[in-house]
């Protein structure tokens, strides 16, 4: 895989949100330009409510930006596509479908034959360490397991890119740590270009090849650095502690700015 090949370009992205009742306009994203390279796992960090999720939703094609554009493999993004598969913070698993039904939903939309679909379900459940859970319903699963299914569902459509919107945001601290290690293991296997939105610096430092720190609303890029040291990183690593300190300082300043 050619490194350094740009897969996705965010060009002069600006987004203004208009409240449908009060008609009050809020500027959410302020002229952001970014370029995402093939095969890289990029973490986007920022204070809560800063507009990083909005940016991800625009990249996914769920929202059209006020101005600027997102270009994916040379074509402007105008609508959602399985080429950019999303993993949702609230899992968004279909509760009326079994684990198997959820994982093969995207394949059914492509009219993939049943045999191929079944094979994919088995393959991805095995990757998630969830063999034998095919016929369970989402309500029977723990939060961590739900998000494994969410990840399997996104990977099963064989996307070119994976978008993860605070996927571990609703998990308790312990499960969250486990899921981070799991995601690291799965990504080493699946090797997908990914954008991972989070507000946890530890999570970002643990997983990413590149770290982007966004400001409070209207959001701009504050820090954009490549992490060179080998993954998985330890807290005791030199690069980890250096970057942590720098990012923490910037984010703390942003949070206090948004509180004022």
């Amino acid at each position: 895989m050619a490194q350094g090949n740009s897969v996705l370009e965010v060009k002069n992205l600006t987004h203004v949100y208009t409240d449908s009742r009060s008609h009050v306009e809020t500027e959410v994203i302020d002229n952001v330009s970014l370029s995402f390279q093939e095969g890289k796992f990029v973490c986007v960090l920022g204070p809560s409510g800063c507009g990083k999720t909005t940016m991800l939703n625009i990249i996914a094609g769920f929202i059209r930006p006020t101005s600027g554009s997102v270009v994916f493999e040379g074509k402007e993004v105008k609508s959602p596509s399985p080429e950019r598969a999303m993993v949702f913070q609230d899992y968004a698993l279909f509760p009326w479908l079994t684990v198997s039904g959820n994982i093969q939903f995207g394949l059914m939309m492509k009219n993939t034959p049943a045999k191929v679909r079944e094979a994919k379900v088995t393959e991805y459940l095995e990757m998630m360490g969830m063999k034998g859970f095919e016929h369970k319903y989402p309500f029977e699963l723990s939060g961590g397991m739900k998000q494994r299914v969410g990840l399997a569902r996104a990977l099963a459509v064989e996307p070119k890119m994976l978008l993860l919107d605070e996927p571990f945001g609703s998990l308790d601290a312990q499960t969250r740590r486990t899921m981070q290690r799991e995601l690291f293991r799965i990504m080493a296997q699946a090797k997908k270009t990914s954008i991972f939105v989070t507000h946890s610096i530890d999570e970002a430092l643990f997983l990413s090849d590149r770290l982007i720190v966004m400001s409070a609303r209207p959001t701009r890029v504050l820090i954009d650095i490549e992490l060179k040291s080998a993954k998985p990183r330890q807290r005791s690593d030199k690069e980890y502690s250096e970057v942590y300190e720098k990012v923490d300082k910037v984010i703390t300043a942003e949070v206090s700015k948004s509180i004022e």
Binding site: P80, P82, F88, A92, F94, W96, M109, F139
Partner: protein, 257 residues
């Protein structure tokens, strides 16, 4: 089910039975002791007697009410679910259809009886019209709310996984709304029954509503009460049928307690 839960449930059944038995006993005593005139409230025995003295009439009128109600309900369910789904899923349909229905909703169901009779005459057609109209609104409203309030992330996930508009409608909005549709159907049965009994009572030559009206003219409280019991039983049986269907279709909603 644990044995403790089973025991509690068995106790509840015993309590239910005791409650009903005490109620009937008090009723019977009150009439026997002439605390209430049997002219107004017949004794339980006199009510049960109707089963034997009016067997043919009771069976025939119950059957007619049942069939008319089921027909009306099916019409209301078909139109109500279709209209509710389209109105809930598409804003344009919502803007066009909702104001008209909000206006019609404010007219009590019974107020449609005179117009129904002008349109269809006295007979099965006007009965189905009024009953179906009464059943329509709760079915429509619940379906509408269900389709309107589907979690946005379900719809986003659908499109993200390559679903077409059609797929999102049938494979996401529809199953996601069923939890709202079923309570609407149950309310629909009850409202449909209310509308049907009203028009049978006002303008009809058959059905439980008609039978009650006639018995009332002759001061036969025992027949009226038996008819009321049959209406209650019919409503209960039809609602239970829906509860079973709901369990079948909404098994995925079960919660582990």
């Amino acid at each position: 089910m644990s044995s403790r839960v089973r025991k509690i449930r068995e106790n509840a059944y015993v309590m239910n039975t005791i409650g009903i038995a005490v109620f009937i006993a008090l009723w019977w005593l009150a009439v026997e002791a002439r605390l209430i005139s049997p002219l107004f409230v017949a004794s339980p025995l006199a009510v049960v007697q109707v089963l034997f003295t009016q067997t043919a009439s009771l069976a025939q009128n119950t059957y007619i009410t049942l069939v008319t109600l089921v027909e009306s309900f099916l019409v209301a369910a078909a139109i109500g679910i279709l209209a509710g789904a389209v109105t809930g899923a598409f804003d344009v349909a919502d803007w066009v259809i909702s104001p008209i229905l909000d206006l019609l909703r404010s007219v009590p169901n019974v107020a449609w009886v005179p117009l129904a009779i002008i349109w269809f005459g006295i007979g099965i057609e006007s009965q189905i019209f009024v009953s179906a109209f009464s059943a329509f609104f709760p079915i429509f409203t619940n379906t509408y709310v269900g389709f309107k309030s589907v979690r946005p992330s379900f719809i986003r996930a659908g499109y993200n996984l390559g679903a077409s508009d059609r797929d999102v409608f049938f494979r996401i909005r529809l199953p996601a709304s069923l939890g709202q549709v079923f309570p609407g159907l149950k309310l629909g049965i009850q409202n449909g029954m209310a509308g049907l009994i009203a028009i049978e009572f006002l303008d009809s030559t058959s059905g439980l509503g008609f039978m009650m009206g006639e018995a009332s003219d002759f001061f036969k409280a025992n027949i009226v009460i038996m008819d009321m019991l049959m209406i209650g039983l019919l409503g209960f049986a039809l609602t239970m049928t829906l509860v079973l269907a709901e369990k079948r279709f909404l098994g995925w909603q079960r919660r582990t307690s």
